[in-house]
Subunit: 336 residues, 2 copies
């Protein structure tokens, strides 16, 4: 049995769900591939930081108001935490910064510089520093992985990396933003726009300021991440032609229903001669499209390659637990 | 650049499509991962066999009535071919034998015994000898791979093997037989059952005796392959509770349409306490199901695991070229 030391940098819903998943999988991991997991660092947003090379007591720590009481040493800041967490793998799950990707990029660099695998559900570093971080990981013999950044735990990046070798991606399209899809689903059920937004805020999938979802920014960031990684064409979110769902009215939704159709916020990108053309925009889809049945927080992506017909992947009913699985899958792939 | 020698055992539509794909990808393969492909053996059903360690001229050979004229030596039978093809990788694509998996199993054994990777689109060996062949491959440091046996080139086995590490499959369901799905699609467009069957025979997706598809045997074999490999529970096609589409009438199809539904031949399997419960049976599906929009020769599978919500994969418009890609992907994975 091989001991693997992990550290959580950012310990919100996703971090806690990942910790639960590691607990659930403990016996399986010990049997095959033979890993014993030890948590040697936890850095939270508002409850302090703790490191201990002997392993932290997660049950006690998760109930604590200030976890620094559990630390084997005093820590000055997050970089001090990274230097002293003694982990083989660091899970970077601090809040996303769409504009610059910081400070997550610096956290990941610091981890990779020390030869740790860096795994994240944070889209910022992928969109703003994919090549740099991947090259840094290569040089240091470790991995920078981020399966959970698009479609939660559904295998998208690993699908191309591992299961579609030699396939060249020509275009993709899909429904990638859960909040807007839920808003449109609720509007079909009779909600007004504002009502639907409030519902999403209540169930915790929309922010207090929901404009990042509604105006298509989150979708643009996901398109940028996919194009950057899967087409190897660096694309910034600002370069995505962007239109959100703000102008879709209750009567638009009703009219579509009467015609047997639905509005979906469709993300798409297509390789062109000098790069990539990318767009997010509301579109009418009919029941002949696999997008039609994708309701609520579910999502779909359709890939057009040079070797297959259109290949679609649908993820139903995601949550923190599925995002956690994406991080866990990256963990297993990094430690093969 | 590393030379890799390949041999085609069985050279029908799929074998030829694979040869085309290798030709199309020649420059890409040379650049990355740095492979030079040489065909050192071809065994056909009715046009003889040829081996040549210096490499066969495929353009000339593909036009020949009897390819044995191109052989560097006289070959007695298929096993003599396997012994003398000097390949690193053998592609076994002889016709499927649902009852016993033979002679393909013996071909693959002979290849693995000699340390060659064996790659096949033939479901027989998977259903009748998966464990034996996989263990033989392991002992000899080579691979037995078969991505193309279910859903053509869509990544299904490699998805679990490579992109869903640590996930346990609890159940799956889907539309896996193209011919019956096309028959039902044609019946929705107004064809009678016999008419729809004739259409499928004309376009080459149904046999002269179409009962293997219509009575659910092909679907049962695919269910057995998936359960055997992905759930690690050996399941024989005969153990699948089986009902085909023979009893679906034109008026059944019309009635379903009037209710906004469709008949689909649904394959499913579920892990239970003492093994697996598996079934193929016509089912009514509505537009809320991802199965609803899967028309013609397209196919879908939905996976329920212990770590994600339902994950669906849809392959649209397959053909020999997509089956060839599954073999090609296996080739790249075997030679990593």
């Amino acid at each position: 049995v091989q001991e693997i030391r992990i550290a959580y940098l950012g310990f919100g819903n996703v971090g806690r769900a990942l910790d639960d998943l590691f607990a659930q999988k403990r016996d399986e991991l010990r049997d095959n591939p033979g890993f014993e997991i030890k948590v040697t660092g936890v850095a939270t947003g508002g409850h302090g930081m703790a490191v201990d090379a002997k392993g932290l007591n997660m049950q006690a720590l998760r109930k604590a108001k200030d976890i620094s009481a559990y630390s084997s040493m005093h820590l000055i800041d997050v970089f001090d935490f990274i230097r002293n967490c003694q982990a083989n793998v660091i899970f970077e799950n601090t809040p996303v910064n769409y504009q610059t990707g910081q400070p997550a990029i610096s956290h990941i660099k610091a981890a990779l510089d020390r030869g740790m695998h860096a795994i994240t559900a944070n889209k910022g570093p992928v969109v703003h520093a994919y090549r740099e971080l991947s090259e840094l990981a290569d040089r240091n013999g470790c991995r920078f992985l981020f399966e959970s950044t698009v479609m939660d735990g559904a295998p998208i990046f690993s699908l191309f990396r591992e299961a579609l070798p030699g396939a060249n991606l020509k275009s993709f399209s899909g429904v990638l933003n859960s909040t807007t899809n839920m808003i449109l689903t609720r509007m079909e059920a009779g909600d007004g726009f504002e009502e639907a937004v409030s519902y999403c805020q209540e169930i915790g999938i929309a922010e207090t300021d929901p404009s990042g979802d509604i105006d298509g920014w989150d979708a643009s960031v996901k398109i940028a991440a996919l194009a950057t990684v899967l087409m190897d064409i660096p694309l910034k979110p600002i370069e995505v032609q962007r239109k959100g769902i703000r102008e879709i009215s209750k009567s638009d939704v009703k009219k579509a229903q009467q015609n047997g159709k639905r509005w979906k916020l469709v993300c798409s990108a297509r390789r062109v001669e000098n790069g990539v053309e990318a767009k997010v925009s509301p579109s009418l889809v009919g029941p002949e499209s696999p997008l039609f049945g994708v309701m609520g927080t579910s999502s779909i992506i359709q890939f057009e390659t040079d070797v297959l017909g259109v290949l679609s992947v649908i993820e139903s009913d995601p949550g923190p637990r599925t995002t956690a699985y994406g991080l866990y899958a990256d963990f297993l792939n990094a430690n093969r």
